[in-house]
């Protein structure tokens, strides 16, 4: 098979481009892989450590333990009462996330679309004050919860967390609603839909990606929460997952392999949920934050 000179030159050109592109992409991948390793390393270390014993964990630094102690996972699960804590954390996470999404999306929709006096001032107060958590405010919060008879109740643990998620939620969703085309809502209104129906049937479904972002933010926050739990709850049977991990990190003795097994157990659900939601996140942040 022969090539005429022009074709040959073209092919050469293409090859050169390909090689150049190839070299660049090799370097790009090397860089990306290096960063990836730094992100993967701690998780893998935690996993490898969870298969060692208290005696070997700081001596045997191998990342592939020769005699893996899988029984650590069984021990961690039973010792930490994860069964009970799991269902608690699930209840808290679902309720808080639904609460944040409902309340934040309603407020965000109002701030974006509806007219009422004091709108801008209210929005600014809401956003800015909530972005400034003051550590000392935890005592007045407790006094208040006690007055409301919410200490050692699930509700007393849930409501402050919903409140904590509102600032970012309203901010993000308002930005998103601002960018949505108004035409759909207008036509719905002409069809005789009321405010709530427009919000519920038109605006909210369009905001689904942003809601996914909000969900993943709040799931991570609620799943990892324990300071508030220690303050509001007494009974073991109300405590969230993180309380289970505390069994392994005592005031003096830390049982590292069991702690690591516990951490792996608690991290996995978050990762799975993130995997499921991440495609929405990408779209969500795009839609919420970027003005076309």
């Amino acid at each position: 098979m022969s090539l005429n000179p022009v074709e040959f030159e073209d092919k050469l050109q293409v090859n050169y481009e390909k090689i150049k592109k190839g070299t660049v992409s090799v370097f790009v991948h090397i860089f990306l892989i290096a960063v990836s390793l730094s992100c993967l390393f701690p998780l893998w270390w935690a996993f490898a450590s969870s298969l060692k014993t208290q005696q070997t964990i700081f001596n045997d630094l191998s990342l592939f333990p020769k005699a893996p102690h899988w029984e650590n996972y069984v021990e961690a699960w039973t010792k930490a009462d994860f069964g009970m804590y799991f269902s608690n954390s699930l209840i808290y996470t679902v309720t808080v996330v639904i609460g944040v999404i409902l309340i934040a999306s309603m407020a965000a929709y109002a701030f974006s679309r509806l007219q009422f006096p004091g709108k801008n001032v209210l929005f600014l107060i809401l956003i800015s004050t909530m972005m400034v958590p003051i550590p000392g405010s935890i005592i007045p919060l407790y006094v208040l919860l006690n007055k409301l008879h919410l200490v050692n109740t699930r509700l007393g643990y849930i409501l402050p967390q919903i409140n904590a998620g509102l600032a970012l939620g309203i901010f993000l969703l308002k930005t998103f609603f601002d960018d949505l085309p108004k035409e759909l809502e207008d036509s719905a209104r002409i069809d005789g839909c009321g405010r709530f129906r427009v919000y519920w049937h038109i605006a909210l479904p369009l905001a689904r990606p942003a809601i996914a972002v909000l969900a993943i933010f709040n799931i991570l926050a609620v799943w990892n929460e324990y300071l508030l739990a220690m303050l509001v709850l007494n009974s073991k049977n109300l405590m969230p997952l993180q309380r289970g991990l505390m069994v392994f990190q005592g005031a003096h003795v830390t049982q590292y392999p069991l702690l690591m097994a516990g951490i792996v157990i608690t991290v996995l659900p978050v990762l799975v949920v993130y995997l499921m939601l991440q495609k929405h996140i990408i779209k969500g942040i795009t839609a919420g934050a970027v003005k076309g």
């Binding site: 790009v28 991948h29 990306l32 960063v35 990836s36 730094s38 992100c39 993967l40 701690p42 998780l43 270390w45 935690a46 409902l102 309340i103 309603m106 407020a107 109002a110 701030f111 509806l114 007219q115 009422f116 006096p117 209210l122 600014l124 809401l126 956003i127 800015s128 909530m130 400034v132 003051i134 550590p135 000392g136 405010s137 005592i139 007045p140 919060l141 006094v143 208040l144 409501l159 919903i162 409140n163 405010r195 919000y199 991570l220 991990l245 990190q249 951490i263 991290v267 978050v270 990762l271 993130y274 991440q278 996140i281 990408i282 942040i285 839609a287 934050a289 970027v290 003005k291 076309g292």
Partner: protein, 295 residues
């Protein structure tokens, strides 16, 4: 005002009532209580407290050099995070924005550090930075830079930077995801057109990518500033604020006053001042972002 209009506005308020009910109860009430406590000498235990007027604030502004030094540290870490962390996040986002093999995998992996618990992060980095058995020192010796080896967290020259690196490592995943999302929203045909015109990558970035990304940059920087200024868990897990005061930040000072010294009133005053500073920063940012968006 006619009834119809009144009912209309009242109906609009219903949308924000749940949010404001929660907000007034769980944010505003504690906030004002803290304000009240900041003018007392309360120890956090006794039911009695003395009103001390602005004494706490006076001491904080006139006499507490350590607090302002810690504020300086926080600003330093924030500045580093704004530049380095966000630059890294942007760079990675640009790389992953191309049609690259395994883009999905990278996207998930870069989000791992934010998910990991503080305990693992503390243990790992304590080990990396260790003076005798640390990975970093081994690596430096291996590549012939053994002279630079040190105990990174307890050397005053490197402690704050070492802590910042941990913080940035843990935080860049957020920025990466947001920035990548922003980049992906830019219509591809804009790039095509530019490339047909023979524009270099740099020109494409400067003329197309950057201007469209301004709102995203602002969002990321707001999150970075608020997140970094309130940093303390990593510090507690690695240096405890030391050596000396080299890695103290306002949050660790507040906790030291509140828990360590039982000066609750004083800690509240710190909280109020710190809160106001963050508030001003947030306000300025929201202003700036509005102005930039209008441009």
């Amino acid at each position: 005002m006619n009834l119809q209009k009144f009912r209309n506005i009242a109906g609009n308020y219903i949308f924000i009532i749940p949010a404001f009910l929660l907000f007034f109860t769980f944010s505003l009430y504690p906030f004002f209580k803290v304000f009240q406590l900041s003018v007392t000498d309360w120890d956090g235990i006794s039911p009695y407290m003395n009103y001390v007027g602005l004494e706490n604030f006076k001491d904080l502004f006139m006499d507490n050099t350590v607090f302002w030094f810690s504020m300086k540290n926080a600003f330093f870490v924030t500045f580093l995070a704004l530049v380095v962390q966000n630059f890294l996040a942007l760079f990675l986002a640009i790389l992953c924005d191309r049609e690259i093999k395994g883009g999905n995998v990278y996207r998930v992996i870069f989000y791992l550090p934010p998910v990991l618990s503080g305990i693992v992060v503390g243990l790992i980095w304590n080990w990396i930075y260790d003076g005798n058995y640390g990975l970093l020192n081994h690596f430096l010796t291996f590549i012939g830079l053994g002279d630079f080896a040190r105990s990174w967290l307890s050397d005053p020259k490197s402690a704050l930077i070492a802590v910042s690196v941990i913080h940035m490592w843990k935080g860049f995943g957020w920025g990466f995801v947001i920035l990548l999302a922003g980049l992906q929203s830019i219509p591809r045909d804009l790039y095509e057109a530019a490339r047909v015109d023979g524009a270099s990558s740099w020109i494409v970035f400067k003329k197309i990518t950057a201007p469209l990304m301004i709102p995203v940059f602002i969002l990321v920087s707001i999150l970075t500033i608020l997140g970094t200024m309130q940093l303390f868990d990593i510090i507690i897990a690695t240096t405890g604020g030391g050596p000396g005061y080299h890695t103290e930040v306002p949050m660790t000072r507040m906790l030291a006053s509140m828990i360590g010294n039982s000066k609750f009133g004083y800690a509240s005053a710190m909280g109020v001042v710190f809160g106001l500073i963050l508030l001003i920063i947030s306000m300025i940012q929201i202003r700036v972002s509005k102005m930039m968006r209008q441009v």
